[in-house]
């Protein structure tokens, strides 16, 4: 009964997908419209492709070591001190990512949705439920994502489908614009949203079929990518690229404009807020879990119960650091760039070492 390999491919995909769908839902169309104008959907699609490439690099490596997580086998590949160094960097990145995501969430939540709730309380409560949930093992972690995913995707899809009737196809044309610098920049920014798919490194040792890690990621990334793409299409198609650039939270506006019948389902934005909070929870939960796990790994603790508690004040402090929304946004972009370099660079380095060492002496099975 207590077989540790319990995570099915579908559940791994659900983890990745519900992790990716998160904080960005509300403002994502604006960035895409900024970057690509009417070809915003194409920007989003390219971003998903880029992130899938980086994911493939990582997952294909993890697949070679089905019994261990990245942080364990990297020690054998490149030696203990360098591996610890990289683990430390990755930990720092996820620590900051958690804090900044929580801050972004707090900013949006207090300014748009829950005006009367102080931002500290908003952020602290969110981090608190992440902390409490991060004490559990990875199997339970996957249960949570698997449970919430339908609750996230279902209502989002319904809202989008309802608003599709208001989409003017003219707003989406021309579909193809010549890829400019801003196009690629936007695509890269979009791919930052997908970075938490790094969680696959923790999932592989518990998957029933570790060989299918890449497939799980493909399903997860493209399901989430499809949701983002549809949101962009709905928003840009409804308001046009120029107006989308002006809206702070285009998705929320889309949900607000969507009406079924004569006011039969009028307040779709209320539904959307609920969904959004849940989707943000799953995202922050993943990065928090990663941070707690990495700290546990660095300190060689038995499990992450202790480290998850230690992290709470730390992450909360980070979330409180930025002075205003603009600072938060700048820091997030910076962090995104840094982590993008690491997420592509580190697996590439490990691949190289793996190739060389396997070629010369068969140390690694």
């Amino acid at each position: 009964m207590n077989n540790s390999r319990q995570i099915t491919t579908l559940r791994a995909a659900a983890v990745i997908s519900s992790t990716i769908i998160g904080i960005g839902i509300l403002s994502f169309p604006r960035y895409m419209a900024d970057a690509g104008g009417s070809s915003a959907p194409l920007v989003a699609f390219t971003g998903a492709l880029i992130s899938f490439f980086s994911f493939w690099l990582l997952a294909a490596l993890c697949r070679r070591f089905p019994k261990e997580s990245l942080f364990v086998f990297s020690r054998r590949l490149i030696g203990r001190p360098p591996a610890m160094f990289f683990t430390l960097i990755i930990w720092l990145i996820f620590l900051w990512l958690t804090g900044l995501t929580a801050r972004q969430f707090g900013d949006v939540a207090t300014s748009v949705l829950f005006n009367k709730t102080p931002i500290e309380a908003t952020i602290f409560l969110m981090l608190l439920i992440c902390q409490l949930s991060a004490r559990r093992n990875i199997i339970k972690f996957s249960y949570i994502h698997f449970f919430y995913l339908p609750l996230i995707i279902g209502p989002v899809l319904i809202t989008i489908l309802i608003s599709m009737s208001d989409v003017d196809l003219l707003n989406l044309q021309p579909v193809l614009t010549a890829p400019s610098a801003s196009f690629w920049k936007g695509a890269l920014e979009a791919s930052y949203l997908f970075q938490s798919s790094f969680i696959i490194t923790l999932l592989v040792p518990f998957m029933q079929l570790p060989k299918q890690a890449v497939r799980a990621g493909a399903i997860g990334i493209f399901a989430a990518g499809a949701v983002y793409l549809l949101i962009v299409i709905a928003s840009v198609g409804m308001f046009g690229a120029e107006e989308t650039k002006l809206l702070i939270y285009p998705t929320l506006e889309t949900a607000r404009s969507a009406v079924i019948g004569d006011g039969f389902l009028e307040r779709l934005d209320a539904l959307f807020i609920v969904i959004w909070v849940i989707s943000v929870f799953t995202t922050i939960y993943t990065t928090y879990y990663l941070a707690a796990y990495l700290l546990q790994n660095l300190l060689a603790f038995r499990d992450q119960r202790m480290t998850s508690s230690v992290l709470l004040p730390l992450v909360f402090a980070i979330a409180m650091l930025p002075k205003n929304v603009f600072e938060t946004y700048t820091w997030t972009l910076l962090l995104g760039k840094a982590s993008m370099i690491l997420m592509v660079g580190y697996p590439a380095l490990l691949w190289a070492v793996y190739g060389v060492r396997r070629f010369h002496k068969k140390v690694i099975p």
Binding site: M1, N2, Q6, L125, S133, Y143, F146, G263, V277, I278
Partner: protein, 551 residues
């Protein structure tokens, strides 16, 4: 008065020399002297008002004594089936052996009419046998005792279960006596597979605990785990099955019950047939079923005895009631005090109009009403039934009408509280309903502090807790998480019985097929066809039967 004074004096005297601890194995043997044996036995048992020592002449020849507790045995049967044959003169028993060593053999074979009995040589084993309701026959000149089972305890009749009423289904509920309860199970489950493991738990009460399972179905690991958890219970007394429940559940700090308790034999049998394990305790009219999942607490026998569409609809209604009882007051508080823009305008106006005279903030108002509702509920349960009716009328009047008139609550709050209360009564399992009722209060507080966001945080916490829970290594939210689609047939909706070919996979049963796999999906088609055939055959059969009777 005088007799009691003597008792008091002898009690004080006995306190100074405590009676020896009850039966240790390998203790003292019986001696050949009847009076010595009796004296030691009485010393071991202590003095007790219902202890009977009946001395008589066995077959008119030997000095003998019967020792038993009059409160535990059937005295009429002792007179009829034991004393009467044993006191007969020896010439009524032509085969009476001359040797004392063969005497008990003869008594057992030819004299007494009792189904169960043994002989015992150890004196120290006898007191515990007498306490169980056995009857001891000691004879002068014999170093053995005959132990006969004469236990009879009065029991109430099999009655309709009080806590689990059904519209359509059996009206039998458990009673307190273990044998009766087991017979109710055996009667429904006439299978040689049905195993019952009985052992006493509790150092002082020695309550007999029975573990029931179907040998060819239940997962051996589950049975072993249940036995392990029961066997390590260290306590002095088990009064009810609820005691066992608290010792064996996975997560005692959780508000949610992880062991199902039921008063219904039919429900127990259904659980056994799914591959679960049932635990019964002597003296308790409740059976425990493990593993118990969230889903089970919202299912009733009615779901299965009615047709599947009705069953499914009623299940969904119960889930709506559950959502009412948990979320309604919290949502109400958060919407009217934090996010009134989420309401339709007309409704918002109506609500603020109703709340005009109420001096408290919404959260306080709802809390007052909810708490008084809880008090009312508890009072109605505890009161004798004659007064209960009066109380509920007063309660309804006070809470429903007078509170509004006095400006203590707004009419809409009363509506919300009423919906909540009714919703919580629609959950079939009382303990699960209580869990949700109690979780409602933290949610209201969160709503009062943080609005809709607080409610969502609370909800996420509750759901996460449910996802983390396990009952005997089965995830509590099975079959939803981690789901196999096949198991969903009996979850939120109840699929037709002929669709449910297999048992729940999360129970890891040895034999997974409920229906033979050969029955194709279009079962109704098959029934219709067969029905057609029998309809044709029926008149012919009838004719032949009539014909034979005429001959």
């Amino acid at each position: 008065m005088q007799a009691w004074k003597e008792k008091y004096v002898s009690y004080i005297k006995n306190q100074k020399q405590p009676s020896p601890p009850p039966s240790e194995p390998g203790g003292e043997k019986l001696s050949l002297s009847l009076s010595a044996n009796l004296e030691k036995l009485l010393h071991g048992l202590g003095q007790s008002g219902d202890l009977v020592v009946r001395e008589f002449l066995l077959f008119g020849r030997y000095q003998a004594a019967l020792v038993f507790f009059s409160s535990l045995v059937n005295q009429e049967q002792i007179q009829e089936h034991i004393l009467k044959p044993l006191m007969a003169r020896s010439n009524d028993h032509p085969g009476l052996p001359d040797k004392l060593t063969e005497l008990y053999h003869y008594i057992w074979n030819a004299a007494v009419q009792v189904t169960q009995g043994t002989t015992a040589e150890e004196l120290s084993a006898l007191p515990s046998e007498i306490v169980k309701g056995q009857l001891i026959l000691l004879t002068e000149g014999s170093a053995e005792a005959l132990v006969l089972d004469m236990r009879q305890v009065d029991t109430r009749g099999v009655d309709q279960p009080q806590t689990e009423q059904v519209i359509r289904g059996p009206r039998e509920g458990y009673v307190e006596k273990l044998e009766n309860n087991l017979s109710l199970l055996r009667y429904r489950l006439q299978s040689t597979d049905f195993r019952i493991e009985i052992s006493p738990i509790g150092s002082r009460t020695q309550s007999r605990v029975a573990l029931c399972y179907l040998d060819s179905l239940a997962d051996p690991k589950l049975v072993a785990e249940a036995m392990r958890r029961i066997s390590i219970i260290q306590t002095d007394g088990i009064i009810d099955a609820g005691y066992i429940e608290q010792f064996i559940e996975d997560q005692p700090l959780s508000p949610f019950p992880q062991v199902q308790s039921t008063e219904r034999p039919d429900k127990t049998v259904a659980a056994l047939l799914e591959g679960r394990v049932a635990i019964l305790v002597d003296g308790s009219p409740f059976a425990l079923i493990v593993p118990a999942l969230f889903n089970q607490f919202f299912q009733t026998i009615d779901d299965y005895t009615e047709r599947f569409i009705m069953g499914s609809l009623i299940r969904i209604i119960r889930l709506i009631a559950l959502a009412f009882s948990l979320f309604f007051p919290a949502l109400y508080v958060s919407v009217i005090s934090f996010n009134p823009e989420l309401m339709p305008t007309d409704f918002a106006v109506a609500i603020s109009g109703g709340r005009a005279g109420v001096p408290f903030p919404a959260v306080l108002e709802v809390l007052i009403m909810e708490v008084s509702m809880e008090v009312l509920r508890e009072a109605t349960i505890r009161l004798p039934q004659m007064i209960g009716g009066a109380l509920s009328i007063v309660g309804v009047l006070v809470i429903g009408q007078a509170a509004v008139a006095a400006g203590l609550a707004s009419p809409i709050t009363v509506v919300i509280v009423a919906l909540t209360t009714i919703g919580s009564f629609a959950t079939p399992a009382y303990n699960a309903a209580i869990a949700l009722r109690m979780l409602r209060f933290p949610l209201i507080l969160l709503a009062g502090m943080f609005g809709l966001y607080g409610v969502m945080i609370g909800t996420i916490l509750i759901i996460n807790h449910l996802l983390f829970l396990e009952s005997f290594s089965v995830p509590y939210m099975s079959p939803y998480i981690p789901g196999k689609w096949r198991d969903w047939k009996d979850s939120l909706v109840r699929a037709p019985l002929w669709w449910m070919h297999s048992r729940p996979s999360f129970l890891h049963t040895r034999d997974n097929t409920r229906l033979p796999a050969s029955i194709p999906g279009n079962y109704t088609q098959q029934i219709l066809q067969q029905g057609g055939e029998t309809n044709e055959q029926f008149p012919a059969d009838h004719n032949t039967a009539g014909g034979s009777r005429n001959q």
